[in-house]
Symmetry: C2
Subunit: 355 residues, 2 copies
Amino acid sequence: MKIAVLPGDGIGTEIVAEAVRVLDALDLKFEMESALVGGAAYDAHGHPLPEATLKLAKEADAVLFGAVGDWKYDTLDRPLRPEQAILGLRKNLGLFANFRPAICYEQLVNASSLKPELVAGLDILIIRELTGDIYFGQPRGRRTAVDGHFPGAEEAFDTMRYSRPEIERIARVAFEAARKRNKKVTSVDKANVLETFQFWKDVVTEVHKEYPDVELEHMYVDNAAMQLVKKPKAFDVIVTGNMFGDILSDEASMLTGSIGMLPSASLNSSNQGLYEPSHGSAPDIAGKGVANPLATILSAAMMLRFSLNQEEAATRIENAVKKVLAQGLRTPDIWSEGTTKVGTREMGDAVLKAM
Amino acid sequence: MKIAVLPGDGIGTEIVAEAVRVLDALDLKFEMESALVGGAAYDAHGHPLPEATLKLAKEADAVLFGAVGDWKYDTLDRPLRPEQAILGLRKNLGLFANFRPAICYEQLVNASSLKPELVAGLDILIIRELTGDIYFGQPRGRRTAVDGHFPGAEEAFDTMRYSRPEIERIARVAFEAARKRNKKVTSVDKANVLETFQFWKDVVTEVHKEYPDVELEHMYVDNAAMQLVKKPKAFDVIVTGNMFGDILSDEASMLTGSIGMLPSASLNSSNQGLYEPSHGSAPDIAGKGVANPLATILSAAMMLRFSLNQEEAATRIENAVKKVLAQGLRTPDIWSEGTTKVGTREMGDAVLKAM
Ligand SMILES: CC(C)[C@H](C(=O)O)[C@@H](O)C(=O)O
Ligand SMILES: CC(C)[C@H](C(=O)O)[C@@H](O)C(=O)O
């Protein structure tokens, strides 16, 4: 078993280092190999996703990813910016199924912006399609408008699109996941305005026939953005497209108060996967040793479960994380009165000890 | 001065009736004429936006709109569904600038899902572009995919697009609005992925040069969805495209706890406008006399101010609404222990009395 380790930028290196220590402690036989990605790769090789990094990722069974991005790259041409690395990995590895749990940890109920009673016990799973939609649709670019409100004016455009098999496969992933949970799927669309999402709704409805034991509900994206705030616990599994999933999964993770704790997995059809924390590269706190490594450590656990078939090791890590939380250890992002503030390394130490 | 009154479906008729009584009580010289729209118009005339309704709206100085939609129309072909009426009105009247205040009323602080300290005093203004973007872009439809992941498969597609003058005019509206407020504009985009929104960001940055007294900040839409939950009071004016604005304005209004209280205005370049509550047609409570008419009454106030140049009358209505809230009167949607529950009509009566 081979793991490609791509720490990336900002706090990426610090948090991935802790996850690697945790993996090392498991005494499982896997090979880990690191490579540069994002801004760090651009600085060293002039490209955010160098050929060698992509090759390593493709050959590995799983990729452990930190985070990419920093304001200093904002002025680069788009193809050279750090985020292109993550888009390139998704596309080249065919990672179409993105799993983003939004869980409110019991001990962090008070860290949420929402009232405690609305989030206590919250456990929803957002499944975002990750290789289609307006993220990758062609054509796109700039041109002179031929119609619309200002024919003759300069305009920019993109193409949103989904094909039947793309919708079918992500719908199946969602129904399968719901079967192992509370048997409810909310498919989020904008069928009242978009052709793409009317089709999405139609195809999800068809696939649902194969899963009569799972409840399917359809919801417009604007309403979903509201219901997540109003009554988040009414959801179980949410399935949606790449663009809506980007927005809703970030909204949902912030609601939990646990964003520094939330892992994510992006899988392809052979269960090869990329695992990364739900949060970003946080350049403002990079290098200070205060970042929360738990989302990355929990991403490593997800990796063991989904791509490396090591359920037991995954559970061992997850239990260790629960234990350190119960001990009252907190990095600054989740700290509150009465708990003990620790740094990135100390938190890693504590998880190792708890294992 | 002529006002087109379009109550629409669901609770639309009840809440608009109260707003009309309030307008009548002003003793101003305007003519009001009603017409059917949405499902009600489809039932009577076979189309959600009949020619006569559109003509009336075009000839009026302002449109007072209730709400449209009901599940029973879900199976109709898209062009016949109630929502097409609102899209048709926006397009035909050129209503490109949508104003959606997200205000947390002092007395409703506890109705919010968010912790009181995060929303007390919240007052942000979302300015959504309303006639462009993927809502109206051509081409759109279904076809056989020629490229992408599954060439040969059936696919559906839409076109996102913005031209320079469309972005310029909405950016100006936002900067002008910010000048009268706290002088800060947050432009929300997805420039890291979309050509359309890289162009958006570039053009907004150019227009900003005309407004050196206003602060401009750029934010990705996924981050904006998070920051609205985390620290909503950090915003002043948010400006964004049609699709992102649809999602973020609904999220923001739900955060306030005041959604039954929030008006909206959609204006064209000659200040002709359509005014409607931010909430929907709520078919589940239609006809029960329990809907909150205040968002519609406040929309009528916005109409007096923006399209009819009756600032004084607008303020009179707004003060009356504040008064009834201070008296402790509440429709069920905003009711809490210790306040007096009233119905739609009683709330209208109370506003009239307070004027
Ligand atoms: C960095 C960016 C391209 C990316 C996305 O939009 O998918 C990020 O927001 C995410 O959700 O992983
Ligand atoms: C009904 C629908 C077409 C509409 C939209 O998406 O614009 C609504 O959600 C709104 O925000 O006014």
